[in-house]
């Protein structure tokens, strides 16, 4: 990956850490508006959209991982330059970089807004976004190794926490709410399902961090597929329970679906209103997601711009994230942006590398001839 700092060059992550990172990077959006968007697009078949999106994403990922296999030990940033040449490659990498910054900015705003909705209604947005950024900046300064290990340790707790919420709502489950099975109809479900692959676009993280892994392209492919698979099940489970507990049309209007779910829990007098406890789980996930976003963006920028170190970029990127997060005038505006991102983000994250892979395949064929 271009030039990397001496310290980072010693970092090699194992498959379990890579898997944890990619799952958290992809899966954190379940705590934001993702289940609502699925309910809105697919109505009662919202959960089906997550499955179709996951399958489409897996197909795209196979192409991207095939591209990585052609250039062992190289990141997608380097590969773009090798295949497209320096000027075009630089342009494409800049595009990916812009998307990464934009995406983290949107997430930062959404997470901060969610904290206001769920826990601190009187706190100013900038103070919450500020704490998010400060914390994430410290974590990114500790480095990729620390963040990946933190993800690996936290992942089981996050999964157990989510499972606990879903199971605790058992008494409210109403399976009839999942019918009709195709919800809004086969056409809309198929279209939105394909576009829904964007929700898994963060799997590209593996392609950006490829030089930091202690394993080869084959394992990268497997890690990506397992990550997409598990996150798909997790998205499907959350969306399905959401639809079963909060029926349509209410499900299409909730701003913080997961919060609403945890708030609904009533198992007994002493096991109710546990939304604050789950704040710990999902904010921890949000910290991890943003920290991964920050360090991945910094490493991608370092490689794109051929810089010796990435750490000086961290404060600058943090300021960019904050500026972007505070740009939308209202929560609603940001929610619309988030929806666009969830629909069309895949164009950047999947179609561009897919195009590069196709070009590489054509080039190879031409060279052989």
């Amino acid at each position: 990956m271009g030039t990397i700092s001496k310290r980072e060059s010693l970092t090699f992550l194992g498959p379990s850490e890579a898997l944890a990172m990619v799952m958290i990077y992809m899966g954190a959006k379940a705590f934001l508006g993702y289940p609502r968007l699925m309910a809105y697009q697919g109505l009662n078949a919202g959960w089906l959209l997550t499955v179709l999106g996951g399958l489409t994403a897996a197909a795209f990922w196979l192409a991207v991982s095939a591209l990585l296999a052609r250039f062992p030990g190289k990141s997608i940033v380097e590969i773009n330059e090798i295949i497209l040449g320096r000027p075009l490659g630089l342009g494409l990498n800049a595009l990916i970089l812009v998307y990464l910054v934009f995406s983290s900015g949107v997430f930062l705003r959404q997470f901060s807004e969610s904290v206001i909705i769920t826990a601190l209604p009187d706190s100013p947005l900038s103070s919450l976004a500020g704490l998010f950024l400060l914390t994430v900046l410290i974590a990114a300064y500790f480095g990729l190794e620390s963040i990946s290990r933190n993800s690996h340790i936290a992942l089981p707790f996050i999964l157990i926490g989510v499972a606990a919420v879903l199971v605790s709502l058992y008494t409210f489950w109403d399976a009839k709410e999942l019918l009709p099975i195709l919800g809004a109809g086969a056409g809309p479900v198929l279209v939105h399902g394909l576009l829904g692959s964007s929700a898994y676009g963060e799997v590209l993280l593996l392609a950006i961090l490829a030089p930091f892994f202690s394993f080869g392209a084959n394992t990268i492919r497997k890690v990506g597929l397992i990550g997409i698979g598990v996150v798909m099940l997790y998205f499907a489970a959350i969306t399905a329970v959401y639809l079963m507990v909060i029926p349509i049309p209410g499900a299409t209007e909730t701003l913080a679906p997961f919060y609403q779910l945890s708030r609904t829990i009533y198992v007994g007098r002493y096991y109710q209103r546990l939304e604050s406890v789950f704040v710990l789980f999902w904010t921890y996930t949000a910290f991890l997601q943003l920290a991964i976003g920050l360090i991945v963006t910094a490493l991608a920028a370092q490689a794109t711009l051929k810089l010796p170190y990435y750490r000086p970029l961290l404060p600058a990127l943090a300021v960019l994230f904050l500026s972007l997060a505070l740009t939308p005038a209202s929560l609603m505006e940001n929610t619309i942006i988030e929806e666009y991102q969830l629909l069309y983000g895949g164009l950047f994250l999947f179609l561009v590398p897919f195009g590069v892979w196709a070009l590489a395949a054509l080039k190879e064929k031409a060279e052989k001839q």
Partner: protein, 591 residues
């Protein structure tokens, strides 16, 4: 200077030690040695061919000045002079005699044929009087047999072999070595006409006998603790590990005052690169004086600014023994009852030796209790502040009413109350350590009962807060490692402050930063959160432990030379099938 804070500078590349598998480690080590031999060859120490000139002493203002006064260790290149008076001058200069009054110089005559003049040097208080009299002076003055000795150069060797019957006697010619022996309780005997000196081991100072542990008590298990004497401590370990491959290496650290530091490890178990790294770190310490193992710990640890310790400090020999048997390295310092063990992990810091001595269910029960105590110790005040300030909906209505009514008369916000009481608790704890023992117990009772009760009655704090503070304090005492307990005691104040401003969101931020910082920490090349971050192979002994017969292998992160502790079936008796009871017979059958 200001530019330092304005301009980014990447951290200076350090020699980042990573504990590798011992085979790789060996290769690394070979590489390191070959580099070392190529670039920085050790200069062989040769005997000074030219005899050093006697130190000139000049009179100044009627007093003898000391030419070596401002030169620390000026005597390091001096050799023993055949002239007795010259040696005496050296000794007087080195020890500033006669100003220095606990240095004893005893002139006497050795009853040989012809009689040889000599003098003995030792330090009152650290040399054993009986040994000096019975093993040094008596044989030399009375029992040397008036035999003729022709060669003065061989005199010292002759006396060592035939006359002096101390158990450790050396013939030496370098003042540096002689002074070192004298400073450590030995007796030096200088002989007229001989360029060699006899040094006889005669240590004998007041020392504490092996006693009970003070901070790491157990109900089941040995009740021995380390003491301040290095050799007693090495002996305590060696008497338990009766293995010839147990190595004790001794180094001296400190320039102005040399202190003995020993490392102990099993040669055929400890990773050679780990041993080398320990040696390297200890030998690289360049300071005037290291008085305590706590100071040595700060010199050799990886991350000095992090709250969690990266070295285990223990006063229990059984604990050190179990670590050595796992392939770790123990570091002992003279004058210290605390032994350091490296590398360590976060989970080792939560373990107590008693966990293993007790049966499996009991051992796991106290481990679970301790883990719960750890969390209680650092998040309970923060949770209390967060819940009462921001997340009241979490508390059932009846309970919130009780809390609200108890806080009705309290004029301060919850966070002020918490800080006030936590600070008071810490003061009681600190004062309890500092005040004399008799008052100490009273102070604890006064602090805990009267101050708490009075504070509630005065309406300064609410009664529920007293429960919170007491619970937190109690939990912090349940953390078995003293340094770790400190870490969580400090961190809880930060968590409380974060909870006061951001509620659970703040607590989550604090946890995130704490975890991220810990995941990046290493202890002698081993990640502190091993074996879960990064995930490495480990036996059933992380938070909970499995049966002792299931711990077949040593933890992977230690990279010991031999990973296996025991075979898959370590309980040999289960291999053989039980004897079939005879028909009509049985243990319970009454006859």
């Amino acid at each position: 200077m200001a530019a330092r804070w304005l301009v980014f500078r990447e951290e200076e590349p350090r020699d980042n030690f990573v504990l590798l598998d011992h085979k790789q480690g060996d290769r690394e080590q070979q590489g390191r040695n070959s580099r070392k031999s190529g670039g920085d060859e050790a200069v062989p120490r040769t005997r000074i061919s030219k005899k050093p000139r006697p130190i000139r002493r000049k009179k100044e203002h009627g007093k003898a000045s000391n030419p070596g006064e401002d030169e620390e260790g000026f005597y390091t290149k001096l050799l023993v002079d055949p002239r007795l008076q010259t040696n005496k001058d050296y000794i007087e200069t080195i020890y500033s005699l006669p100003k220095n009054q606990d240095i004893i110089v005893r002139d006497f005559t050795i009853s040989l044929e012809p009689p040889v003049q000599a003098f003995a040097v030792f330090i009152e208080g650290i040399s054993d009087r009986v040994t000096v009299n019975e093993s040094v002076l008596k044989p030399l003055m009375l029992l040397s047999g008036k035999r003729p000795v022709t060669e003065p150069a061989k005199l010292a060797e002759y006396l060592k072999k035939h006359v002096v019957y101390g158990n450790q006697v050396d013939v030496q010619d370098k003042f540096e070595d002689i002074i070192e022996k004298i400073n450590y309780g030995g007796t030096a005997v200088f002989l007229d006409g001989s360029p060699y000196c006899l040094t006889i081991e005669s240590k004998g100072w007041e020392k504490r006998p092996v006693g009970k542990p003070v901070t790491e008590q157990v109900i089941r298990g040995p009740h021995e603790a380390f003491v301040e004497t290095l050799r007693s401590n090495t002996g305590l370990i060696r008497k338990a590990i009766r293995n010839p491959r147990l190595i004790t290496e001794i180094f001296k650290i400190g320039v102005r005052n040399k202190t003995d530091v020993a490392i102990m490890y099993l040669d055929n178990l400890a990773n050679p690169s780990l041993v080398e790294e320990v040696r390297r770190r200890i030998n690289s310490v360049d300071t005037d004086y290291v008085s305590e193992s706590g100071i040595l710990e700060q010199f050799i640890e990886d991350n000095p600014f992090m709250p969690v310790p990266q070295v285990i400090s223990t006063e229990r020999p059984d604990r050190v023994i179990s670590f050595i048997m796992d392939g770790k390295v123990a570091i002992l310092m003279d004058g210290n009852p605390n032994v350091l063990v490296v590398p360590t992990t976060f989970f080792s810091l939560l373990h107590s030796p008693e966990d293993y001595y007790l049966r499996l269910p009991y051992g796991n029960f106290i481990r679970l209790l301790r883990v719960a105590a750890m969390f209680i110790a650092f998040v309970t005040p923060a949770f209390y502040v967060a819940i009462t300030t921001f997340h009241q909906e979490m508390i059932p209505t009846d309970l919130i009413l009780v809390i609200a009514s108890s806080r009705e008369t309290v004029p301060f916000p919850t966070v002020i109350e918490v800080f006030f009481m936590e600070f008071a608790f810490e003061m009681i704890r600190e004062a309890g350590v500092r005040v004399p023992g008799v008052i100490g117990n009273t102070l604890g009772i006064v602090g805990a009962l009267i101050l708490g009760q009075a504070a509630v009655q005065a309406g300064i704090v609410s009664p529920i807060l007293i429960i919170v503070v007491a619970l937190t304090g109690l939990a912090s005492f349940a953390i078995p490692n003293y340094s770790m307990s400190f870490a969580f005691r400090g961190v809880r104040f930060i968590f409380t402050a974060l909870a006061a401003v951001f509620g659970f969101f703040g607590v989550s931020a604090g946890l995130f930063v704490l975890m991220t910082s810990m995941t990046g920490m290493k202890s002698f090349g081993v990640p502190i959160l091993s074996p879960i971050g990064p995930r490495t192979k480990s036996g059933p002994d992380i938070l909970l432990r499995g049966p002792v017969w299931s711990m077949e292998e040593r933890p992977d992160f230690i990279n010991a030379r031999e990973m296996r502790r025991q075979p898959d079936i370590s309980r040999g008796w289960i291999k053989s099938s039980p004897q079939e009871p005879e028909p009509g017979g049985g243990d319970n059958q009454q006859t």
